[in-house]
């Protein structure tokens, strides 16, 4: 593989690792604050699944980069401008419905994406994808069920679910540009993303219909996460996540 392709493969791994890392960190913010013990454990479980995936992607990225950075080096020693996650995952938790909206939109996309990644010819990415699919199938299912339960629940839960989707909707277009700027390596490993936007829109529409929710109105999408241009919400998340290893750089369990 040429240095240029290898660099793009690093970039792809970082994008995927950062998606998982940042969303995992967001979900863990619920720990101790969720509406019930059961939901508290559910959200933390989802978060920890994602942190596990982030470790695999970032470890691989570190190997590709070849500068001696491991998963921790990449997670804790980069600044906001170097993070390549999509804007959707860094959006604030809001209320429970807003968190569910974000998770539903993202994990529905993530599952479709991983199914394609599992068919590429990059052995490591394929292995990570196959392992992650089992976890993300559950994420997509449980978040869709909550969308339906809240949407088709009380007037208040319906409104909150609608507001949550409305907040997140301007960040969905960016999901379908994950390969932007690294098209060469995507083609090289055989990553075919041509059908997932349609599939995603169909799945989301079907769930919202069952949830008696209207599809949010189309709006101008906001982009930038993949090149490090983030919303104001990422900085505070990173400072919390990174404060301990940056203060005590030899800290250990």
């Amino acid at each position: 593989m040429s240095p240029q392709l290898k660099n793009q493969l690093y970039e792809l791994s970082v994008r995927l690792g950062d998606d998982a890392l940042i969303l995992g960190q967001r979900l863990c913010e619920w720990c101790g604050h969720a509406p019930s013990t059961e939901i508290d454990l559910t959200l933390s479980n989802l978060g920890l699944d994602l942190i596990g995936q982030a470790r695999h992607f970032l470890t691989y990225a570190g190997e590709l980069e070849g500068k001696g950075r491991d998963e921790d080096g990449l997670a804790f020693e980069r600044d906001a401008l170097d993070f390549k996650n999509c804007l959707l995952v860094e959006q604030p938790n809001g209320d429970f419905a807003q968190t569910i909206a974000r998770h539903f939109l993202f994990s529905t996309w993530q599952l479709l994406f991983l199914e394609q990644l599992a068919q590429t010819n990059d052995e490591t990415l394929r292995a990570i994808a196959r392992k992650s699919i089992k976890e993300i199938s559950y994420h997509a299912s449980i978040s869709a069920q909550w969308v339906i339960r809240l949407g088709d629940g009380t007037p208040e839960s319906h409104d909150r679910m609608m507001n949550g989707l409305d907040w997140m909707w301007r960040f969905v277009d960016e999901l379908f540009l994950v390969q932007e700027g690294i098209e060469d390596v995507c083609e090289n490993i055989g990553l075919d993303l041509s059908s997932i936007e349609n599939e995603w829109r169909n799945k989301v529409a079907a769930t919202l219909k069952e949830a008696t929710l209207d599809l949010p109105a189309d709006r101008k999408g906001i982009f930038g996460g993949r090149v490090g241009h983030h919303s104001e919400h990422l900085g505070p998340l990173l400072s919390e996540m990174q404060s301990l290893p940056r203060t005590y750089n030899d800290a250990n369990w």
Binding site: S36, T37, R149
Partner: protein
């Protein structure tokens, strides 16, 4: 934690591995059976404790009356011959 409102209580039974019976693990709050299964999965099997889950609405459980303790349980106490304890269990037999 906020008020969990109208969520009802469900009893959770976990089978720890194939061949063993489901055992009571605890309870969860949920609005329907799917939600109860998911809550049970996330609450009681996240450390690989189970291979199968049953959930049962707590309201469907009929329980013995503590006031009937004497007539229900006392008579068994002096009938030690009913216990299969007078032979050794081989070491290889687990889960007896």
């Amino acid at each position: 934690m906020a008020d969990i409102g109208d969520l009802s209580l469900w009893e959770v039974f976990i089978r720890t591995k194939g061949g063993l019976s489901h055992r009571h693990a605890g309870s969860v709050h949920a609005a329907d059976k799917r939600m109860a299964l998911e809550a049970a999965r996330d609450t009681y099997t996240r450390r690989m404790e189970g291979v199968s889950i049953w959930v049962v609405p707590s309201s469907q459980v009929s329980a013995s009356d503590p006031d009937e303790y004497d007539s229900f349980f006392e008579p068994a106490k002096d009938k030690i011959y009913r216990h299969p304890t007078f032979y050794p269990v081989p070491d290889e037999i687990k889960n007896m």
